[in-house]
């Protein structure tokens, strides 16, 4: 096949023209980037998808906005990633499943936090795990397990079989990891034998498929699954009621963080999440924000 030189250069030219055609920069930014907590990820991604289907262009959201396509990008990465990215501008709205640390607040400067919901961190195992015979775990139990002191289930309770414990944890970027470290482990560190999972979704899949594993996971996800035994912590059940009345010790806010002031488009999307979007929040099993404010 003899390809002429003209075709070759023509193709190059075509590519370049396509590129410049794609590079339509508008002063008005029609995109919103959201990223962070993998707990909030499915909810906000759902909200984004429905928002984009409901309003195809920004002028339908608010007549003062130009007729540009509504584009919302959602990604995971963990609360640490979400806050960090909000600080350095990689995302417009950061999702976090824990409170902001002092250092982060300083780096953010002026910012806005919007509470979307609250949930709690529950401990769960697969139903055929030896630990599933128990109903309640104490803080001491958790420290023993997660610091690596207890190597087998027998070390936790002498009547359990000597099956080795597989510790699952969210990786360092996870909001739940920070909470467990601060509130329960305190001075001790996570056992280095723990497997770090990259998201709550992966967490769920892993613990559902493994009879030696124990994990801490968003209570909503745990309770929805029919394969898991979810424990009470210090005598309190990890239900939404106990989140609302504050009885469960490891509750955390699920928040959206925006640096400076949210732009009009960002504010509109946040308003959606806090109002009509609350039905989506409730569908996923989380407490609507009205109840926890």
């Amino acid at each position: 096949m003899q390809l002429s030189l003209k075709t070759f250069f023509g193709t190059i030219l075509f590519c370049l023209i396509t590129v410049s055609g794609l590079a339509q920069e508008a002063e008005f930014n029609e995109t919103i980037r959201v990223g962070g907590s993998t707990t909030l990820l499915p909810v906000i991604a759902d909200c984004a998808s429905q928002y984009m289907e409901k309003y195809s262009t920004w002028d339908k959201v608010d007549p003062s906005l130009p007729k540009k396509q509504v584009l919302i990008f959602v990604t995971g990465g963990g609360s640490g990633f979400g806050v960090n990215s909000a600080i350095n501008g990689t995302v417009d709205i950061g999702m976090s499943s824990r409170d902001l640390k002092e250092g982060e607040k300083t780096k953010l400067g002026a910012h806005k936090e919007c509470l979307v919901s609250k949930d709690c961190v529950a401990f769960a195992v697969k139903k055929d795990n030896p630990l599933a015979t128990l109903d309640n775990l104490t803080a001491a139990d958790i420290v023993k397990i997660y610091s690596g002191e207890a190597k087998t289930y027998q070390d936790v309770r002498p009547n359990l079989p000597a099956k080795p414990i597989l510790i699952l944890m969210r990786d360092m970027a996870g909001g739940s990891t920070e909470m467990v470290q601060q509130l329960i482990l305190k001075d001790k560190t996570f056992s280095s034998q723990a497997i770090q999972v990259p998201s709550q979704g992966a967490n769920l899949k892993k613990v559902e498929g493994n009879s030696s594993a124990i994990t801490y996971i968003s209570s909503v996800l745990a309770l929805e699954s029919d394969k898991l035994k979810v424990f009470n912590f210090e005598g309190v059940e990890p239900t939404n009621e106990n989140v609302v009345n504050g009885k469960y010790p490891i509750t955390r806010p699920l928040i959206l963080v925006v640096k400076d002031k949210p732009s009009l488009t960002e504010q509109k999307f946040i308003d959606f999440i806090l109002n009509e979007g609350q039905s989506i929040v409730a569908e996923h099993g989380y407490v609507p924000v009205k109840k926890v404010r």
Binding site: G80, K107, D187, I195, P198, N210, A213
Partner: protein, 305 residues
């Protein structure tokens, strides 16, 4: 070529158009090489050069990884050990098989089989790392859990096996090149002496192709330490020091990929991650330089024909 040089250094040798084109091409070259060098330099900058740098490098290779402790411990010893264990296993599997395939393609295979083998190896080389990781996750991981009665199937061994499959086509083709060159030179003379195949191989081919085989091994090593996605999905993210091939580990590439997203710019952890990245890059660069020199020894020129 001598006349080339004469042509372009004489003032009348290059037309004005030529001079423009030459400058343009030089620009491209400088820009391209410049960006590549910028990568190294920028990595170095982001690793925080200064007083702490040598200590950080030492710590990188020897310390523990406990970023949430107070004060945070940021050593990556476990990661380097994991990387070399996984790559070691992968090389142990893929080197013999790869050399075997190399021998096969260069000498022993009949033409039809050779025609089948080449596209097959290219298919193997063309499958992206993510797909290998995915493949390993749905096959090896589950299989290991059953067979070895492990609490979870992600192991260094599993990652090593998948990595060996990924390395195989490269080792096979590099060693095939080496074997082909040597066979061409020696086959007639050796066989005419009445020597059998195996002795020819052992006494003549292996010896002569040795630098090329080392190059193949170095190539496999370089690819192995640099592989990210597949080992990320298969070795089980733990910060523990791996104590056996059935334990979990976290190679340096997986560590970098996992931690970079949530690390605040200019924090201690950020500097340490980039120090690790810099060391990895320099390691691979050195390996590649070694490969080039070894190839030169086998072929006589710096690049194979």
């Amino acid at each position: 070529m001598k006349w080339d040089k004469d042509l372009s250094t004489r003032h009348g040798g290059l037309s004005a158009r030529d001079r423009i084109v030459r400058s343009l091409c030089l620009l491209f070259l400088v820009a391209g090489v410049g960006i590549l060098i910028l990568t190294i330099v920028y990595l170095f900058i982001e690793s925080g050069p200064g007083k702490g740098f040598p200590y950080r490098v030492l710590d990188c290779f020897t310390g523990e990884w406990q970023p949430l402790a107070t004060p945070p411990k940021l050593g990556m010893a476990h990661a380097w050990v994991s990387t070399f264990m996984i790559t070691g296993i992968a090389l142990a599997i893929s080197l013999p098989i790869g050399f075997g395939i190399g021998l096969f393609t260069s000498e022993i295979a009949p033409l039809i089989v050779r025609r089948l083998l080449t596209p097959s190896l290219e298919l193997l080389a063309g499958i992206p790392a993510v797909v290998y990781g995915f493949f390993g996750a749905v096959t090896l991981v589950r299989w290991f859990e059953k067979v070895f009665q492990l609490s979870t199937g992600e192991t260094i061994l599993g990652a090593g096996i998948v990595l060996s499959v990924m390395m195989l086509p490269f080792i096979a083709s590099t060693s095939a090149e080496a074997f082909r060159a040597v066979f061409r030179e020696y086959r007639e003379s050796v066989l005419s002496l009445g020597v059998d195949q195996l002795t020819m191989f052992r006494r003549v081919i292996l010896v002569r192709a040795f630098p090329g085989l080392i190059a193949a091994a170095a190539l496999g090593l370089a690819r192995g330490v640099g592989e990210t996605l597949a080992v990320l999905m298969l070795s089980g993210n733990t910060t523990a020091f791996p104590d056996s091939i059935l334990s979990r580990g976290q190679p340096i590439t997986a560590l970098l990929a996992t931690e970079i997203g949530e690390t605040a710019v200019d924090s201690e952890k950020y500097h340490m991650l980039f120090t690790g990245a810099l060391c990895l890059m320099l390691l691979v660069l050195l390996l590649n330089l070694a490969i080039s020199f070894l190839k030169k020894k086998v072929y006589g020129t710096l690049y194979a024909s």
